[in-house]
Symmetry: C2
Subunit: 318 residues, 2 copies
């Protein structure tokens, strides 16, 4: 059994490779929910949905999130209300664009949550409906909210930073409101403790993996089995392949490099897989107390993702 | 100023005629909300939306509700979840079909309600966004739920009876859960007390007008000015023009005729407008204590609706 700590796009791509290497039924993904957002009364879970849509083969390949062949009728009609929403209202928000087919997922989730189902149960139902063989677990069913400090503006919600401001603003701080009292979803701690290998996917260490590590019990469970935990660096040659991880690391006082990633994960992961472009920094990674494995980590397609998954597993099984 | 007590389709058609006779800004519609339903976390207000869409000229003319030229992408995608929803769940419900553009209205409403806005405020915003000049008021912002007793099955929700079972089952009882403690929405009692004429639209007397009369204060306000309250019979020659009003009246022990309608409204309305087909029953209507005015009440189009509006106002202003 293999357990993967996952954010969104990068983790989803890694998982498509992993399920070419091991049977999907042997894989559990524990997915970040701290960047979830409630819009229009609907709980939207971007990372869970990105992972599910990607594994189902339904994802929009250009964007890496959302559904392929999506239409935007509802968002178009919602624009009609922008002129009547009072200042500060998010009810006519269309900067967070929910496609028509994607909305069906959110309607189903909202309906089930309103009926009293917990997020882990609903997530499993959605995965089954989409034909996803990997077990998807939210890190928690409790509300955890990533708050991002933005220079000169104070704190904003994660999607406000990430989508609305296109992560093009300096970050002064990040916190995960509610994480201290969040209970890990049913199965999370068991999946960390009981897996043969735990992989920390190539996701943003701060805002994607950080919240998962913050859920009470997760960090300890990883620490207890650190030797068989392997992380994949989302930073290659000092840059994030996607998203703002490199700038965010630097702005929060970390080195935006595989060495900075190694230092962040040293407590919980025994091994870091770095890209061949970073082979020259293996010594510094090891000096941070983390075994360093060099392999191609840039996933242009499923073959490369599968090769990376193989290298990741081999790194721990040595 | 004219105030209209309104259900859905019949009232909406009546109002399109009324605004050809008097300026829309002089009309207030107090609309039934007891057949509202919460689906997928979204508050759906069928009567309010039917009235708004009709007055905006956006309604689907064949159905009498919903939007013209509507698409159904979201509902199609929601069907994917029917197989995974547990027994009894309504989360994958598609029998209550929400069109894509219609959904934007529900998303906006849900977002505003979640922000703490009251239903009357949100209703006014939606009306403004759609360009509706009539003032639309929900009868209450508090939860009131029409529960329908169905022979052999016990009580079901109104939409379950009306849409899912296509009102093709005998009714053993009707009640409006919560109505005793519902507060009239801001402006409702003033609109009843202060109007020159109050019209009870040709809507179902039991399930459309009944809940409005049940909101504390409304019945007394009407009784106090009964002489200038005029009702339009939704029953013509013993039959409802649309919907189950005739059967429902009979099943609940009322006469399914203009006479039965007169008896139901005698306490609150001084005049009943009946169709020419029912001219022969005018004496019986008057015997129930209600002045009877005979006029064509079947509205095939806006011209006939305007003529009916004129006849209604004239009936009170005599």
């Amino acid at each position: 059994m293999i357990t993967v700590l996952a954010g969104g796009v990068g983790a989803a791509r890694y998982l498509t490779g992993l399920v070419r290497v091991v049977p999907p039924g042997e894989v559990t993904a524990i997915v970040n929910t701290a960047d979830d957002v409630t819009l229009h009364g609907l709980r939207v879970c971007p990372d869970l949905d990105t992972v599910a849509y990607t594994l189902a083969g339904l994802v929009n390949p250009e964007a890496g999130w959302g559904l392929a062949g999506e239409s935007w009728t509802v968002m178009g009609a919602l624009e009609r209300f922008a002129g009547v929403a009072p200042p500060g209202s998010q009810a006519a928000t269309t900067w967070f664009r929910l496609g028509d087919r994607d909305l069906a997922t959110h309607l189903y989730r909202a309906g089930r949550l309103a009926e009293g189902a917990d997020l882990a149960t609903v997530t499993a139902e959605i995965a089954r409906a989409l034909g996803v063989g990997v077990r998807l677990l939210p890190m928690t069913g409790d509300p955890v909210e990533t708050r991002v400090g933005v220079a000169g503006e104070g704190e904003v919600g994660f999607q406000d930073y990430f989508v609305r401001r296109r992560h093009a603003v300096p970050v002064t701080g990040v916190r995960f409101a509610g994480v201290e009292s969040a209970r890990p979803a049913a199965g999370v701690l068991e999946a960390v403790a009981g897996a043969g290998v735990v992989v920390i996917a190539p996701s943003n260490p701060i805002v994607s993996i950080g919240p998962i590590l913050g859920v009470p019990g997760v960090r300890d469970a990883l620490r207890a089995r650190r030797r068989s935990v392997v992380a994949v660096s989302p930073i290659v040659a000092g840059a994030a392949l996607k998203g703002p991880a490199d700038r965010m690391l630097a702005e929060l006082g970390h080195e935006p490099s595989v060495v900075g990633v190694a230092r962040l994960y040293a407590e919980v992961a025994g091994t870091l897989v770095v890209d061949t472009a970073d082979a020259g920094r293996a010594g510094e990674v090891e000096a941070a107390g983390v075994a360093c494995v060099v392999a191609p980590t840039v996933m242009h397609g499923p073959d490369e993702a599968a090769a990376l998954a193989r290298a990741t597993l081999a790194a721990v099984r040595r």
